[in-house]
Assembly symmetry: C2
Homo-oligomer: 352 residues x 2
DNA sequence: GAAAAATCCGTGACCGTACACGGAAAAATT
DNA sequence: AATTTTTCCGTGTACGGTCACGGATTTTTC
């Protein structure tokens, strides 16, 4: 506890063990070429003296260059994946001090082929570690299997797959986030109808990370509000007219005491619609702290958001790899569920 | 953007500027003994080459030992200040790598004399930087004035005072947290009565950081729920009998549609009482993610908590000082308001 | 038992910076 | 003009590691 100032160095260990620092270094890095008994002795002395290598001397001396690549969906400024990218950017800065470069490569999340292509590029020039946000189940499994075979550690962010040789996972508990969302939507009020707004793609075969979220939501509703009418509305987010038409239809009936929810980050589309139509009293709940969503929160067109720090998530993913690469540290926890932040108009301005 | 691998070193700069690395070093650290024109030239070359000192070589070479002390109220495991202490502990670990030792000293927050004593001890053996959680206004101002005079940077955590030579502040926006709290308590329901449970000390002259929070709460209520009856209840937290008696009195009347709130971290006392009396339907809202409070959340005796990551807060405070001491970095922002986290039974388990 | 191979280990040159030391050049003094 | 003082700057060592290189021992081979 009492911080010792007399740091013990590799030379101290060497002297004490009656060998040279070269030998100590060899056992430290398991580089072989050390007789069992020297090894033994050095290890014992290290233990006794409580030797900790000087991190900085180490980095300085070993001019190793590690490279980490992050494979995430394409993004444009302000959307969900741009947050992740920002997190990567941030940790890249820190990591560069450690001689680790971090590289972001993106793929079209609606196009398997582009994902395959990116994977191949990564495999062609193997990095020291990989961070991947999986959208295509089979292809990702295939990808990571090859990484694993080459001894390249990989970590999942956002969502994970059911293999188990991943190095770590950082993401939101999807099911629970849906459950929580339902509670926020419904608790203490008796809603007659809830629109679940989904985007067309949901219907297709892609592995959509938000399905678990929807499941959580539905489960809560079934348990706590069996009487509430839940209506699915499918929209094409790229087509404003379509959005307007579909929502007009959905809002047509008796729109008293209604709720609207989306399980991806696009709730601002709904907010926009509601602003246009000047609807009052609709309870709108969504996910992710995109700037557009926060604006909707401020203007009162969205009541609540559930957010995660995807930037921090990404940063932690990268850092976990860096720690491992540089310091050989194992992960603290393999599965890291980041907190679910509930935002409303009164606390959103203090969200990062 | 494209990560350059060819880091430029102090030698490159020296060569380019036609001087020796010693001179470059002198201008880098403003150590004088450099002619204006050499200085000029070096500065220009640094600019051109985009030279960034190698952090690690720098730390390694300068064997400076910095010491930071954190002055916070005494704590026992599980209470509010223990969270802060934990954050300090964490950042202490990181900081030790930088040759910075972090030391925690505590005072009795109910005893000015103990605070004075601690301050004197700190002043007697000046550290390189100070983190302080102020509870006594006058004494703290006096303390920091002396620190300032000695050129020791200090940062406030938790709450800040109205001087302005502090290096930084990390804390929750107290007024807004009260405002938010009121919204969480009252929004969408029509409460008849709200008990504001306070501890005796509130009545005395101590500078209580939670007054701003209470003000925020009251302001919201005045604006949005003028009809709600707000009743102050003073308890002695150390005396369970007193708590029970006072709350019994407060709950005596028509206890339909009631709310209870506390502005410090002791809401678990109320939860305990409610559990004992097996009251139903009371809306209980409080602050801070103490283990006891989280338990109350899980068991349903508290509906909502507003939390802050006081550990992260403390860590950031220490880190800001470390960055400044080691790297001479100025603060990003002087006032750092940490986010206000809304916790209920469904997201509290993922809160760190 | 000598030669070849394998094993083990010490040496020393770095990594990029900080800073003490002492000397050269310029300025001030006499 | 000679001397002293001041200003300015280059040199060299240390910080605590990493790793290539080559030498010394030991083991294997024939």
């Amino acid at each position: 506890m009492a911080g010792k100032d007399n740091r013990v160095t590799i030379n101290d260990v060497a002297k004490m063990a009656g060998v040279s620092k070269g030998t100590v270094d060899r056992v430290l890095h398991d580089r072989g070429e050390v007789s069992p008994k020297s090894r033994e002795k050095v290890l014992k002395v290290i233990e006794e003296l409580g030797y900790k290598p000087n991190f900085y001397a180490s980095i300085l001396a070993s001019q190793k260059k590690h490279r980490i690549v992050c494979v995430i969906p394409e993004y444009v400024s302000g959307d969900f994946w741009s947050l992740t990218a920002r997190g990567v950017e941030e940790s890249a800065e820190t990591s560069s001090r450690f001689g680790v470069t971090v590289e972001v490569v993106t793929y079209d999340q609606y196009d398997v082929e582009s994902f395959r292509h990116v994977c191949n590029r990564v495999l062609a020039d193997l990095p020291s570690g990989v961070v991947v946000a999986p959208m295509f189940r089979v292809e990702t499994l295939n990808f990571v299997k090859k990484l694993d075979a080459s001894g390249v550690p990989y970590v999942y962010i956002d969502s994970k797959l059911e293999d188990d040789s991943y190095f770590a996972y950082f993401g939101m508990p999807m099911f629970q986030s849906g459950y929580l969302c339902a509670d926020i939507m419904a608790d203490g009020r008796s809603l007659e109808k809830i629109l679940v707004v989904r985007i067309e793609r949901d219907k297709m075969g892609y592995s959509d990370p938000t399905v678990a979220r929807r499941t959580g939501f539905m489960e809560y509703m079934a348990e706590h509000c069996p009487g509430t009418d839940i209506v699915n509305v499918f929209i094409d987010p790229k087509n404003p007219d379509d959005v307007r038409r579909k929502l007009d239809e959905a809002f047509a009936g008796p729109s008293e005491n209604m709720g609207v929810v989306m399980f991806n980050s696009r709730i601002h589309l709904v907010a926009e619609y509601i602003r246009e139509r000047a609807f009052k009293g609709v309870r709108v709940v969504g996910f992710d702290a995109l700037e557009k969503n926060l604006d909707a929160l401020r203007s009162g067109h969205v009541q609540m958001l559930i957010a995660q720090h995807s930037d921090r998530q990404a940063a932690m993913a990268v850092n976990a790899l860096v720690d491992n690469l540089i310091h050989g540290e194992p992960v603290h926890k393999k599965d890291n569920y980041t907190q679910m932040d509930i935002l409303n108009r009164y606390n959103c301005d203090y969200y990062m």
